[in-house]
């Protein structure tokens, strides 16, 4: 008997796409709509942070921020962690990334480097407006369409002046679809897929309004970029072999044009689709975390899980039913949020302290704070208890106990 071929892995990671936003737009996204109707759809998936880097670190290590310690944007993933592509590379997979990574600081047009054994091919580009010299998309654009490139970027990049003029922003938004960032991601990914497998690939699409050009504690969605990504994904999927596990998710959520609380679920509730040949379509409403992706992919590919791991397999374990998210941005009061099926608690730490309690079943947009309502004091305390226990559950106890004392 020949052992079954090892499945390829394709992780489609949007920079900022909320689950609610995706469902609002899904009718104009034929590829994602078809994929969703053919996937395990986790309709209640959460990230550990509304910031991009901490959330991605969890997605790629299977650890909560309490363990991986990439606590805010601009912090590099500590060297002791083994990101998932490296795990697969160690197991004989060809690993590659096209587009965004963001596991290290990239402000001031800083170039992000892969680790020595993380990716065999690293077509890195933080976004279409990120002016690192090593931005692979911009190199491609300059080579493919020099006149457009010059029109968008008439001047050399200055790391001390990273303000993107509105004109550049608009010029980039108006490049033809086939020259867009997400079209480039699709083209590059197709090229990598053609080289064969088994591969572990990451397609890092950018659909946030800032286009990778600047920081945004809450990112607004760019619907046009999302449609371009959907079209690019169609080409990719037409070339992907049958034996491929596809994950679709986002580094973090997004908000519309209205400024929202940074821990509003729009910012931390993200899409999560898992599509594999033997997995039947199903929608799962239990709360899960994006850190659960690591053990799930390891198990599906029969690759040994990393020793340091806090996520749990999405296909074999009952969803946790709760999600803890933290905002630890130095420029914002620190906040912690606990989501359960029907209730949400948000604490603002320090002074002035603030407590918010929402009934998600009747108030999904989190408009009415019930924390001061006398009728909800027992519920509030129950959520405080739950948050304490959830925090403790996520502490780093990954070092095995090898003796009694």
């Amino acid at each position: 008997m020949t052992p079954p071929a090892r499945p390829n892995i394709l992780m489609v990671v949007f920079d900022s796409l909320g689950e609610t936003a995706l469902q609002e737009h899904i009718d104009v996204l034929p590829t994602l709509r078809a994929l969703q109707s053919n996937s395990l759809h986790f309709s209640q998936a959460f990230t550990c942070s509304p910031e991009s880097s901490p959330a991605r670190a969890s997605l790629f290590t299977g650890l909560d921020v309490a363990a991986h310690n990439l606590w805010t944007d601009g912090v590099a993933l500590p060297g002791r962690e083994t990101p998932l592509p490296e795990v697969f590379a160690q197991n004989g997979y060809d690993s590659w990334l096209v587009g965004r990574r963001h596991l290290a600081g990239v402000s001031n047009w800083t170039t992000e480097h892969a680790r020595p054994n993380e990716y065999h091919h690293f077509d890195w580009a933080h976004g279409p407006l990120h002016r690192s010299r090593q931005n692979a998309y911009l190199s491609w654009l300059e080579h493919t369409a020099p006149s457009i490139y010059t029109e968008v970027f008439p001047r050399q990049a200055d790391p001390d002046d990273t303000e993107i003029p509105q004109a550049h922003h608009e010029a980039m938004a108006n490049v033809p679809d086939h020259l867009s960032f997400n079209a480039w991601v699709g083209t590059k990914v197709c090229g990598r897929v053609e080289l064969g497998g088994p591969f572990f690939g990451v397609a890092g699409f950018v659909v946030g309004h800032s286009m990778g050009g600047g920081p945004a504690l809450v990112e607004a969605l760019d619907p046009k970029a999302l449609r371009q990504a959907d079209a690019a994904l169609a080409t990719v999927l037409s070339g992907v072999p049958q034996n491929t596990v596809i994950v679709v998710t986002a580094g973090r959520g997004c908000v519309g044009s209205v400024a929202a609380q940074p821990l509003n679920n729009a910012a931390i509730h993200v899409p999560l689709l898992l599509c594999a040949p033997h997995l039947a379509q199903q929608s799962i409403g239990g709360l899960v975390s994006t850190m659960d992706v690591v053990p799930t992919l390891c198990d599906l590919a029969q690759v040994r899980r990393p020793q340091r791991l806090q996520g749990q397999c999405l296909t074999s374990v009952t969803p946790r039913g709760w999600a803890l998210s933290r905002l630890r941005h130095p420029g914002h009061p620190h906040q912690t949020a606990l989501n359960t099926k029907h209730w949400k608690l948000v604490l603002t730490h320090g002074e002035p302290r603030e407590t918010r309690l929402y009934d998600l079943s009747s108030d999904p947009k989190e408009a009415k704070n019930l924390a001061a309502d006398p009728a909800h004091q027992d519920r509030l305390e129950e959520m405080l208890d739950h948050m304490m226990d959830a925090r403790v559950a996520l502490e780093d106890r990954t070092e095995p106990r090898i003796a009694k004392f």
């Binding site: 944007d73 730490h349 226990d389 959830a390 403790v392 003796a403």
Partner: protein, 492 residues
């Protein structure tokens, strides 16, 4: 650089905060420690971050809460990459030594504790007086200095299965009762005195950890020291009728047996036996005090007492029959979390001062690094106590946190508890799902009215607001206690 202070850290094992004459035990025979306190500053509310040896010591050496250093239970090795403050001292030119018990790695089955990247030049290690590792330096010393004692007590190599021998002992074991000249505590002092008087590098300041095993059970001391203790002067254990009915359910199991059922518990003893255990406990402390006196004498004789920062503390407490319990475990009473802390540094730290602010064991490394002029190492979460000592308490945290994460012997379901002390109030959470499968429960005490923690106000309807306020405060403290070590090297 020559005026950087020497540092002598005297650490005992399992010593209650209230066990010294100067901390309220009028029956204690602790003249040397009382004098040390009179010549320095006494911290009345020093809390350890975990009530078990190994996690607590990992907090001492890394300056981090157990939830961050990752050594959450006895039997877990200190995870790779955790930085010991002694390494920082050594790199700054200190001559560093450790004599006695360390426990930053599993020592079960007579295991030899591996060296860490600790910065020590001198490392004379002995996990305990009954620990049969071949590398037990106390045994090596005893074999040379008292061969008859050694042969009489340890005629064979000892079976690995017998690793819990002293945990299971109901009374002192033979090695606890040897004449003081052959005792583990004497060995610690002898080797420390040799370090101070001869062995240290005279061109450098020194750091020495003199780490006693006593007054850890088994409960036994040389007769000479037991004779100094007036057992009748020791009060009866602190409890009240029906106490266990008011406390979270696991307190009862902790009363019946200690160490998750693997060691005799309070209920296995008669009242008279408990009283003798208490007398032996203070006999062990009297011996420690005697040996501390000899070490301080050696500092004086070497002419370095004035420029030595002497710190005395302990890794956690001991139930000692109070609340109808013995030894230690998930209970976060002051019996287990509050430890003695004395700091003496002539001409620097005010003499005779008592500080009531809660301080934490993780503050010791920050204090030592500050006194020695070293920058705090990456990830050190403690705060230097020096500003507090000099009366600058603005900005010093007002609370203390302790975390038990199935740190002791195994139970089903796992037990996890968290303690927050602020002002007169103390909250203890017994965690439930999703932290562990245990039943969620709690304790709330007003230490001003009830310093003995006998009256659990957690379910009291008069204290609902206080309980909820303390829970919010605990969540704030836990957020503040997170490890945000890696630098934010870029704005985004």
């Amino acid at each position: 650089m020559s005026d950087r202070p020497n540092i002598l850290l005297i650490c005992t094992d399992q010593q209650r905060g209230d066990s010294l004459g100067c901390t309220g035990a009028s029956w204690a025979v602790t003249p040397n420690l009382d004098r040390l306190a009179a010549g320095g500053t006494l911290f009345e509310n020093c809390y350890v971050q975990n009530p078990l040896c190994s996690p607590s010591r990992a907090s001492l050496f890394t300056g981090k809460y157990p939830s961050n250093h990752g050594l959450y239970a006895n039997g877990v090795p200190l995870p790779k990459g955790q930085h010991m403050f002694t390494r920082t001292l050594a790199d700054a030119g200190y001559d560093c030594g450790m004599i006695g018990k360390q426990h930053l790695a599993p020592c079960d089955t007579w295991r030899t504790e591996p060296r860490q990247n600790d910065g020590y030049r001198v490392f004379e290690w002995a996990h305990g007086p009954n620990h049969r590792a071949l590398e037990n330096d106390y045994h090596r010393w005893l074999r040379k200095t008292h061969p008859d004692v050694y042969q009489g007590i340890f005629p064979d190599t000892g079976a690995n299965e017998n690793t819990e021998y002293s945990n299971r002992a109901r009374t002192g074991t033979p090695i606890d009762h040897v004449p003081k000249e052959a005792h583990y505590s004497h060995w610690v002092a002898e080797r420390a005195i040799d370090f101070i008087s001869h062995d240290r590098a005279k061109s450098k300041p020194f750091f020495l950890m003199a780490s006693f095993f006593d007054p850890h059970h088994s409960f036994g001391a040389p007769q000479e020291f037991r004779d100094m203790i007036d057992a009748d002067a020791i009060p009866e254990p602190n409890t009240k009728p029906g106490e266990l009915d008011e406390k979270p359910k696991d307190h009862r199991a902790c009363s019946e047996k200690s160490y998750s059922g693997t060691a005799p518990g309070f209920q296995d003893y008669t009242g008279a036996e408990i009283n003798e255990i208490r007398a032996q406990y203070w006999a062990m402390i009297a011996l420690i005090d005697y040996e501390v006196g000899r070490m301080l004498g050696a500092l004086e004789e070497a002419g370095v007492l004035e420029n030595t920062l002497v710190i005395f503390s302990s890794d956690h407490g001991e139930m000692l029959g109070n609340h109808q319990q013995l030894l230690k475990g998930p209970q976060l009473y002051d019996d287990l979390c509050r430890v003695p802390l004395i700091a003496r540094w002539s001409g620097q730290i005010p003499a005779g001062q008592r500080i009531a602010n809660p301080v934490q064991w993780i503050d010791l490394s920050a204090t030592i690094l500050a006194a020695s002029g070293c920058a705090p190492g990456a990830g050190v979460q403690g705060q230097s106590l020096l500003p507090l000592v000099f009366g600058e308490d603005a900005g010093f945290r007002t609370w203390a946190l302790s975390e038990y994460r199935y740190s002791g012997f195994h139970t089903e379901p796992l037990i996890m508890t968290t303690m927050l002390r602020q002002g007169d109030w103390k909250l203890i959470i017994w965690h439930g799902s999703p932290a562990c499968g245990n039943t969620r429960a709690g304790e709330l005490y007003n230490l001003a009215d009830d310093p003995g923690e006998l009256h659990n106000l957690y379910q009291s309807s008069d204290h609902t607001d206080q309980r909820r306020a303390m829970k919010q405060l605990l969540l704030d403290a836990m957020a503040e206690a997170e490890d945000r070590t890696p630098d934010q090297s870029r704005p985004w």
